[in-house]
Amino acid sequence: MTDRRETWLLLSPGLVLLVVAFLLPIARMLVLSVQGPDGTTLVHFNRFFQDAYYPLVLWRTVYLSAIITLICMVIGFPLAYIMARSTPRIRLWLVIMVILPLMTSVVVRTFGWMVLLGRSGLIASSLRDLGLAGRSFQLMQTETAITLGMVQVLLPFMVLSLLGVLVRLDPRLEEAARTMGCSFLQTLRTVVLPLAAPGLLAGSILVFTLSASSFVTPSLLGGARIEMLAGSIYKNVTQTLDWNFAAAQAVILFAGIAALLIPYLKLGARPHG
């Protein structure tokens, strides 16, 4: 047996699993999306784009995901920077603070938000007590609720992506900038931020992708009225059993994600040759 054969022997069980249980299902989904009663058809896509309702769902998915990504960037960058520049002991605690929610089931975290955001929840009742909101004020089943919940769910991905880049950043670069007369904020803007850009980009793509494709948090916090694309797919698969239409929606989601990921992967592959 050659070394090469041994390597392939080690790789093949995993490859077989991925081909059978990952590639094949994706291929099947692609095929189903263009399958009609009489052969290949684009009828499911036409139905999606010509409907009054579904383009709205798509648009909501895109802009809410964009807002969620933006908020994750704004909170995630300073948080990751503080983590990277703190002592190892404090950093451990901060990592725990970020990873503990990440490793807790999305269902459980969404439940926490349902309690907090509900009509009698802590947020609504304190706003009422302060006289800032009316009697009927409620946060559940609003886009705000989805955004709040999703930012909490996805922020750890952004922070960890950034942290990976920021901990490798040489602090002497910042010291040099400071000695040359940059203020603290100028140093952040002209030295740290550009060097952290790869992490920021990776984190943003990850957060946007995950946000556009999640349905557990949006459907529990947004309710049936404020639907997002993934929730609509889930409904079509499990309730209306319209699998071809669900597949077509999944293809639209898939195409959007691929349009984001492929340029990024190409960009990332270049320096390595």
Binding site: I96, V115, Q152, L155, V216, L253, L261
Partner: protein, 266 residues
Amino acid sequence: MVRAVPGWVRIGAWIFVLLAALFLLAPLIVVMGVSVSEAQFIAFPPKGFSLRWYEKALNSPAYVDAFWLSLRLAALVTVSACILGGAAAIGLSRARRSGGVVETFFLSPLVLPSIIFAIGLLMVWSAIFGPTSFHALWLAHTVVALPYVIRTTLAVLAERDPHLEEAARTMGATRLQRLWFVTLPQCRPGLLAGAFFAFNISFDEAVLSLFLRNPNLVTLPVQIYGQLEFSPDPTVAAVSTLMILITVALMLILERMLGLTRFASG
């Protein structure tokens, strides 16, 4: 910290970190609070203290069955993901030259949202085998857990001493002996960390489990999801708290054995 960071930045940083911690941990704290409340309905801050919702949860067949299903599933997924992922990682570390494309393929379930292949898997499975079964869930969860095992194991293998295997070879060790006595022990911390992630991912996974669910195939997260859609009561909070505590326990073990930061920022 860089020297001469302005004082207001330091104070601001502390306030910011505290607010971020509050935001990130709030849902977990709330769930835990609700679970020990005496009130009949969901209330936070909790009123009184009682463990009766835990008693109710532990006496509910729906929750207990779902718990055992999730536990069995997570244990099997951990085993299968570690065997396949460990082998793949060793293979990838040897095929460094041509391994780039293969590695990207192996890690692709990490970037591609699981909803996209969940729907495809459901369709393929129904076309071939009919109704979904435990095996379908096992297969699906192994696919999503695999990249984590590969990543942690590859990270460990990248730091190993490659001469060790070379030495074993010159001393006449066979392929199998080298794999078993040299490479596998070198992988151990990575495999162990991967095992924790695999278990945790399977135990908490909701998307694939929701797509592949049927009345006889309800995992714990799916059971909770169903309750949340329908009528959440403090029992859900008790079950959720137990899930949080399992995660905390897993993290503590991982930190004690291997150190968390090592795998967090890689």
